[in-house]
Amino acid sequence: MAEPPHPEASPEGSGAPPGRRLALLLDERDNVATALVDLARGTRVPVGGLEVELRADIPFAHKFALRPIAAGEAVVKYGETIGLATAAIQPGDHVHRHNLDHRVESIIFRMREATGASGPQGAMAKPAGGEE
């Protein structure tokens, strides 16, 4: 299957094998992309029609921002909110536990209630150990 090089193939000097795509965008609504190889800070990564210059080393399968994300704003992957930013995030920043709040129970419960079903039962009103 001889295919032309992918339009988002690795640029020269990226350290990745030539022709290799560097990042995966799972949904066009996403504001983060996922590294397909270990990527070095400073690499210019073509993804989702953008070119993002990495502001940190991004290990394989880790996320980096495509656009500015304000503190408190949703981080979107798979087209869905996966959590809220805890600090202002710049394009090319590593997005992980240091700037994305992993305590997501309150988001899940709030969005559950928004689906219009019966309100949360006793079991979920107070998830143990959560700060909600």
Partner: protein, 380 residues
């Protein structure tokens, strides 16, 4: 878009034509294995069938009958002891649409008598089943069970999304999909996709039992999941991890929430309460729900199959695919290399599913991986 299959007397369409020897109780397991070995039939054995509380027994019965009445089964020999809670005669009476016989070990004079009787009955059943003819059916006759296990970074990024794309293709063709492993973290996304209010209530009730169990155990789900290994691998939040698992069933509306081994009553995506985390329990329950084939994404690699259904084993990691080459059927690693899009990979996987439906053997079938297991819940 058609497949080749066997029309059963009850209207179901099978893609295999297995002769099954069904033990009703653990006491009959060894004799069932002996007879099945001599006949080259599929033995279904387990540790249950007696001394079980009522709800537990009913579930065992539903799983066993769901397996015996499975569309891929061409004939059934029920092997009982004679004094168990699930009598062989009663179980055989509930097998419909295919030839069935039963024997009871206590009435056959023990092991040698039961084996002799089993061979006699089994030979006739095998010959009766062998006369079933393959015919052409639309792909809408298929029910697919989707499963994941031993997840790695590629599971949520590549193999589950590709399987989801294939699931959507089958649903668009009028088929059904059974998805288990409905775990915490994407409650709201399932709720949004429920076909109606009653289904949404069932999904939330199932999830509330898990929240409640975590609360009783004093565990904060969001603090303990993702695990440290997941976090090192790049996963940050519970929602993110759970979406990676939910992707395997596609994007369609949820038609219903099934008990273990419950049967979908129509096409589309169905969720099932399954027993985890051991993979074989869940696969057994989904197949007993009538799925003629299984698609299993495995990150780390796993040889397990299913008793009466082919299992298409998928991985998105070239190292895993090559490392356990004889156990895998489908390599989705081109997604992570950036050489194939998720929809293209899903389409290729859907074509593989149709080929398997048409008779192409999967690795588990070739290698004789016919695992079957039922979990014991209550004490009797």
């Amino acid at each position: 878009m058609n497949i080749q299959g066997y029309r059963r007397g009850d209207g179901q369409v099978g893609i295999r034509n297995h002769v099954v020897l069904l033990a009703t109780v653990h006491c009959a397991a060894e004799i069932t294995q002996k007879i099945a070995g001599l006949l080259n039939a599929v033995p279904i054995t387990h540790f249950l069938g007696c001394m079980q509380p009522p709800a537990d027994l009913e579930e065992t019965r539903r799983i066993l009958l769901g397996t015996a009445n499975h569309p891929n089964v061409g004939a059934v020999l029920v092997v009982g002891l004679g004094c168990e809670q699930l009598p062989a005669r009663e179980m055989a009476a509930e097998v419909t649409g295919r030839p069935v016989e039963y024997l009871e070990i206590q009435a056959c004079g023990g092991t040698s008598g039961a084996v002799q009787r089993g061979l006699d009955l089994g030979r006739r059943l095998a010959q009766a089943a062998s006369q079933a003819k393959r015919d052409t059916f639309p792909a809408s006759a298929l029910t697919l069970a989707v499963k994941c296990g031993g997840s790695d970074a590629g599971s949520g990024l590549a193999s589950n999304p590709a399987l989801g794309a294939a699931s959507d293709r089958l649903v668009a063709a009028g088929g059904a999909v059974i998805q288990g492993e409905i775990t915490l973290g994407v409650d709201h996304l399932w709720g949004q996709r429920a076909a109606d209010e009653a289904v949404r209530e069932q999904i939330y009730a199932h999830l509330d039992r898990q929240w409640e169990a975590a609360r009783r155990a004093g565990v904060s789900v969001g603090e303990t999941n993702p695990t440290p290994g997941n976090i090192a691998g790049g996963l940050t939040t519970l929602i993110e991890k759970a979406i990676g698992g939910m992707k395997k069933g596609g994007t369609g509306p949820v038609q219903g929430f099934l008990p273990r081994a419950g049967r979908p009553s129509g096409p589309g995506l169905w969720l099932m309460e399954t027993t985890g985390p051991t993979d074989v329990f869940g696969i057994t329950e989904q197949v007993a729900g009538g799925a003629q084939l299984v698609a299993f994404t495995s990150g780390r690699g796993n040889p397990v199959g299913a008793a009466v259904a082919p299992v298409i084993k998928i991985t998105s990691t070239a190292e895993t695919f090559c490392g356990m080459r004889d156990n895998f059927d489908f390599d989705a690693s081109a997604i992570l290399r950036g050489e194939e899009s998720i929809p293209d990979c899903g389409e290729r996987l859907f074509r593989e599913m149709l080929a398997v439906a048409d008779g192409k053997l999967t690795a588990n079938e070739v290698l004789g991986h016919r695992e079957f297991a039922i979990a014991r819940r209550g004490e009797g």
